[in-house]
């Protein structure tokens, strides 16, 4: 497993006079599905190209397992890529495209035929074996590109926003198929995307990059979502309510004082240098962690009252925008009942409740 891990150490890269990475360090565990999430321009494609070998780092090393691959050329690395626009060879048909990696290595013909059939079966397209490329739909092309990249069982498979050109339903289906494929192959999958729901769905662990080419956080989807390390991560992955305030720390615990709203009980990380009495801090509170009700409810550590400004009905859930103090707070409620006991309407006064453990205190 460890032979398929990727490590980037102190990588510096300038691309066309722009500094993409200043000092990048990243470890991608072998044999797992790893996602790299970030906004456009964050350098995630450049990162992919560094791993594949299309670009060389200005300084720093790249390792595949224990092997230093920094100076290896593209075709020497056991890393294959699925391109965003698939880059299927237009003059070759499906069979020839998928067989390409084997043909150039002079693998014997019957072995090629077997392995191509296997690869096509993995992506459920064995019927299209001799079709010319221009007759394939987007989804089919995508899967052929996949088959072509995995036929040689590479240690690492890089996917550059592979589902960007597909419609929603197809995308959802492909995500599941990708997970199954990774499971069957055992290769390390590195999946680049700007779509956070994709990243959360497929990955065993993920990294978030910000627009400066820095890695903001690495972790499992759950740890990133529930315990973001910065407000950038908190806002980029999912929606959150961000409040600015001052910490009060004493022997009774931690509280945060937020202007125009009041003070609230929180749980702050214990051993951080920026956590002290009267320190400035941010509080992140996810919309689904808030209970909304017109009637008062017991048992919650925190409470504000507010006015309903907007209601967005989304079928299985409803989102409310509540005005309180200087803030507009997002609240997410599941529509659990056909006939709700309580109807919340525009301009109603409502009560918002949450527990102190369900917030995240952030430095910035």
């Amino acid at each position: 497993m460890e032979t398929k891990s990727i490590k980037l150490e102190h990588v510096k890269k300038n691309y066309r006079d722009e500094e993409v990475f200043q000092d990048l360090n990243l470890f991608i565990p072998g044999g797992k599905f790893f996602a790299i999430l970030g906004p456009s321009g964050s350098g995630k494609t450049t990162l992919l190209r560094l791993i594949a070998g299309f670009e060389k780092p200005d300084t720093g090393r790249i390792y595949l397992g224990n092997q230093d691959i920094t100076d290896l050329s593209i075709f020497e690395r056991r890393v294959n890529t699925v391109f965003q626009n698939y880059a299927l060879f237009p003059h070759l048909n499906v069979f020839e495209n998928v067989a390409y990696a084997l043909t150039i290595r002079n693998v014997p013909k019957d072995e090629i035929a077997d392995r191509v059939a296997q690869a096509l079966k993995m992506v459920h397209l064995e019927k299209l074996m001799y079709r010319p490329i221009n007759q394939l739909s987007g989804g089919q092309q995508q899967r052929i590109a996949l088959a072509r990249a995995v036929i040689n069982r590479p240690d690492v498979l890089l996917l550059d926003e592979p589902l960007a050109a597909l419609d929603l339903k197809l995308r959802e289906r492909m995500l599941i198929e990708l997970i199954e494929l990774q499971d069957a192959l055992g290769s390390t999958f590195v999946y680049i995307t700007h779509d956070q729901s994709e990243a959360l769905t497929v990955s065993d662990s993920m990294a978030i990059m910000n627009s400066e080419g820095e890695i903001a956080q690495v972790g499992t989807p759950k740890s990133i979502y529930e315990f973001p390390a910065s407000s950038f991560v908190a806002k980029f992955v999912g929606t959150t309510n961000m409040f600015k305030g001052t910490l009060r720390v004493d022997e009774n615990g931690e509280r945060i004082v937020i202007d125009t709203l009041g003070d609230f009980a929180v749980v702050a990380p214990k051993d951080k240098s920026w956590v002290y009495d009267k320190a400035p801090a941010l509080m992140s509170l996810r919309p689904e962690k808030i209970e909304i009700s017109k009637q008062p409810i017991e048992g919650f550590a925190n409470h504000i009252a507010g006015t309903v400004k907007n209601i967005v009905y989304q079928g299985s859930s409803t989102r409310y925008l509540i005005e309180a103090g200087d803030y507009v707070i997002h609240v997410f409620e599941q529509n659990e009942e056909h006939f709700p006991t309580e109807v919340i309407d525009y301009d109603d006064t409502v009560n918002l409740y949450w527990q102190k453990e369900n917030v995240v205190i952030l430095e910035r």
Partner: protein
């Protein structure tokens, strides 16, 4: 209908018809007179094909044709090969490609005398080699944009995909790039070949006294007043020209030959 709507309905058609008439009357007369029995120009003496027989027996014509083909083949091979290498290996130098279009922008006579002056400066003997040099230069100006624009059409990541799957640069070139560039290479080759065959200006200045190409031969005959054999030759060239155009049309390469904006 009144005059105005008559014009707008048929005016365009009349104009185009008149135009094609203008285009073809000289040619038709030329062809007709190639079958003229009488050796004097313009005087119709009767139908005969003996000028064609004379044409095929003329050693001078065959020699000129041979020379032209020889030069054209070399020039085509050199310019197409060089532009292929240039476009594939020098793709990161493409901002310098406009340097090649200079030979198209200046009047050909300037190009020709430039070459002549250059050759005389280094006392190079005028002959086949100087002709080939000049025609290759002309050819580059046409081949480079054709091959380079076709190369640009190719999906950017095809080379990378091939390398990524384990092919070397050489394998990538022969298996992926070359097959996809072939239409452009063929189009460029045909264009350069024809341009070289038809070129008069550079041949006039740079061929020296001993080498005669077909256009030079034609020029000398026309200067002398023309001859029915020349009509025959012209008709033959016309036939080849039409075959060439049909070839191009069959290969669907019309787009490449239309000078875009």
């Amino acid at each position: 209908m009144n005059v105005r709507s008559f014009f707008s309905a048929y005016g365009l058609r009349m104009w185009v018809s008149a135009f094609f008439l203008f285009l073809y009357i000289p040619i038709v007369v030329l062809v007709i007179f190639s079958f003229n029995e009488s050796p004097t120009l313009y005087q119709w003496g009767g139908f005969s094909t003996h000028w064609y027989a004379e044409l095929f027996q003329s050693a001078e014509v065959w020699q000129a044709l041979r020379n032209s083909l020889y030069v054209a083949s070399f020039a085509t091979f050199l310019s197409v090969t060089m532009s292929l290498l240039l476009v594939y290996f020098g793709s990161n130098l493409r901002r310098f490609f406009p340097l090649f279009y200079g030979s198209l922008v200046i009047p050909e006579v300037v190009l020709a005398v430039g070459l002549l002056g250059f050759f005389s400066l280094f006392t190079v003997m005028l002959g086949f080699s100087t002709l080939i040099v000049g025609h290759t230069l002309l050819g580059l100006g046409y081949a480079v944009p054709i091959v380079s624009s076709r190369y640009d059409e190719l999906e950017k990541h095809l080379t990378e995909a091939s390398l990524d799957l384990g092919a070397s640069y050489v394998q990538t070139f022969f298996r992926i790039i070359l097959p996809l560039l072939v239409p452009a290479l063929v189009a460029a080759a045909i264009l350069v070949f024809v341009i070289s065959l038809d070129d008069f200006m550079i041949a006039f200045f740079c061929a020296g006294g001993t080498t005669q190409t077909l256009p030079l031969y034609i020029f000398s005959v026309v200067r002398a007043g023309g001859s029915p054999m020349l009509n025959a030759l012209s008709t033959v060239l016309l036939c080849f020209g039409s075959m060439l155009i049909m070839l191009i049309a069959a290969l669907r390469m019309r787009k490449i030959f239309m000078f875009g904006s």
